[in-house]
């Protein structure tokens, strides 16, 4: 895709384990005000449309779209909600710009995971009500099944997965807004409590609260608004099979398909060479490795070697999750993908402070919707 639309404003609030001082509306308001200030727009005058992402059972409210317009400056405007990752929402906004119907669109995603007292049961409620739910399995067991098959088939190892945790948690120490930065050792990860073998407690990203808001603009509007637009060069999204009975347990097909779509639009032929850095889903440690392979950032079975060699460290040849990823920043539910895009934008703008990468032109953000889905979305961005 040529330079047809860009991200021209970012704002965020969080990210921390709890956020008792602000209601979800106030959290959204804080992030939105920052995004509009960053973009230099007045949402009441300038924004043509608004998209939010939310799942009813994560909010504890049915048809949650009811409660989004006020705090975004979106009252009496074209607004709708997407049940998807934030990147799905961002794509829904971008499609409206591509269609020529709108020039400036606002996209919002948030997490108040700390307010969900029974998150594990809520996640289980997403399982097939007839085939799977009656088995009464903890949903983490699905991750255990997948990790087992992925490691078996690709010969990546449990230790390599643990290295992802060590890297991302350490990266988060350089991110002042990250909720879960820490200097932990490989041994800490490998000795942590078993959850659903081979998955251990520290392989799992803890949850955080927070909100991310973006302002998207068409090329003309973007050039008017900012000297530093971050261009959306490619976007892809795809669903694998929802059915646990028919799923590809070893490989993330949804990620491969989403990335191929995005790369095709962006004219990226050799992702490993052309993508300078990536923020990709690491809801579970093995997911970072599995997604690296599916996103063609390395060949099958090579992700583990890359982490062993330090290639995905901030100073490596292909830094991955410099922000700390979900393991370091926290799992932000629907906002997870937007946090990944946020990091790509900040890096490309040169605003990533202590964790700023040098000479980066093109970045990839990839989100998975989490358990129990096989749904993902990818975005290629460039300066």
């Amino acid at each position: 895709m040529q330079k047809q639309m860009a991200i021209v404003g970012v704002g965020y609030s969080g990210f921390s384990s709890i956020s008792p001082g602000l209601s979800y509306k106030e959290l959204m308001y804080e992030a939105a005000v920052r995004a509009y200030q960053d973009a230099g727009i007045d949402p009441r005058q300038d924004a043509d449309g608004f998209v939010t992402v939310a799942e009813d059972f994560h909010e504890g409210t049915s048809i949650f779209d009811e409660y989004v317009p006020d705090q975004l400056g979106a009252v009496m405007r074209p607004v709708h909600t997407v049940t998807g990752d934030g990147i799905h929402g961002l794509i829904a906004g971008a499609l409206k710009i591509l269609s020529g119907a709108m020039n400036i669109v606002v996209v919002e995603g948030h997490s108040k995971a700390s307010n969900i007292l029974t998150l594990s049961q809520v996640t289980a409620y997403a399982l097939d009500p007839i085939y799977n739910r009656p088995l009464g399995l903890n949903p983490y067991s699905i991750a255990g099944l997948e990790m087992q098959r992925f490691l078996h088939q690709t010969k990546n190892t449990v230790e390599q997965c643990a290295r992802v945790v060590v890297k991302n948690r350490r990266n988060a120490l350089n991110h002042p807004s990250a909720g879960h930065g820490s200097d932990i050792s490989l041994e800490d990860v490998l000795a942590s409590e078993r959850v659903a073998s081979p998955l251990r407690k520290l392989d799992i990203a803890p949850h955080s609260d927070g909100c991310v808001v973006f302002v998207l603009a068409s090329a003309d509007a973007a050039r008017d608004l900012t000297p530093q637009p971050i261009w959306i060069r490619g976007m892809g999204w795809s669903n694998g099979s929802y059915s646990l009975e028919q799923r590809n347990w070893a490989h993330a097909d949804y990620a491969r398909q989403a990335a191929q779509m995005a790369y095709h639009q962006a004219g990226v032929e050799k992702p490993h060479d052309e993508i300078d850095f990536a923020e990709i889903d690491d809801t579970f440690s093995y997911k970072e490795l599995q997604h690296m392979e599916a996103l063609e950032l390395c060949g099958e079975g090579e992700a583990g070697r890359m982490i062993d060699e330090g290639a995905t460290q901030p100073g490596g040849s292909l830094p991955i999750n410099v922000s700390g990823g979900s393991l370091g920043v926290g799992n932000l539910l629907e906002a997870s993908g937007l946090q990944r895009v946020l990091e790509v934008v900040l890096q490309l703008r040169g605003q990533a402070s202590a964790r700023q990468l040098k000479n980066v032109e093109t970045g990839l953000a990839f989100a998975w919707r989490g358990l129990p889905t096989a749904s993902g979305a990818a975005l290629v961005l460039s300066r």
Binding site: K25, E26, R44, V75, N115, P129, P134
Partner: protein, 168 residues
């Protein structure tokens, strides 16, 4: 459409089909529990309800005074300017006489939900609550009403600290 008329899929079941297990089903009671952060505006609103007071917020630019409180004016998209106590009186904007409960059980004594425009707010600004101590047939749009509060020691910072509104 015309040519597929007789073939539309969709098999209608009767309640007996299910109760007599002619067709099978699985059941599940969701365990979805939440503790929503009240935050700044709603936190103070609830606290003042516990004190037996109704609070509103005002935005100077547009001149609106609204309830329930919010930290931002959603029309102007700017922070609200000031808090103020409102009287616990108002007028009925609209009402209903409802004979079914929230989970669709028939009620012997109907409930009377109403949108009550609270005195001291901008036109058409009200809250949802119920009317009480009134003959349902006597309720009228425009009727002045006043809050009936729970005794102070029973109030816990919730909208139900007001039992209902009654005609003045």
């Amino acid at each position: 459409m015309a040519k597929i008329v007789r073939e539309l899929p969709g098999l209608a079941l009767t309640p007996e089909d299910i109760s007599q297990r002619k067709v099978l089903s699985t059941s599940w009671v969701p365990k979805a529990e939440y503790a929503w952060d009240a935050g700044i505006a709603m936190g103070r609103y609830l606290e003042e309800l516990r004190n037996g007071r109704l609070m509103g917020v005002r935005h100077r630019r547009c001149g609106r005074t609204v309830i329930p409180p919010r930290i931002f004016c959603e029309q102007c998209f700017a922070p609200m300017d000031e808090w103020g106590e409102l009287p616990d009186t108002g007028t009925v904007n609209t009402f209903s006489i409802c004979y079914v409960s929230w989970d669709v059980k028939r009620l012997e004594v109907p409930e009377i939900p109403a949108v009550i425009e609270i005195d001291g707010t901008s036109p058409r600004v009200g809250i949802l609550h119920k009317l009480g101590e009134v003959d349902p047939q006597q309720v009228k749009v425009g009727m002045p009403v006043k809050a009936v509060w729970k005794p102070a020691e029973e109030r816990n910072g919730a909208i139900t600290d007001i039992l209902y509104f009654q005609p003045i």
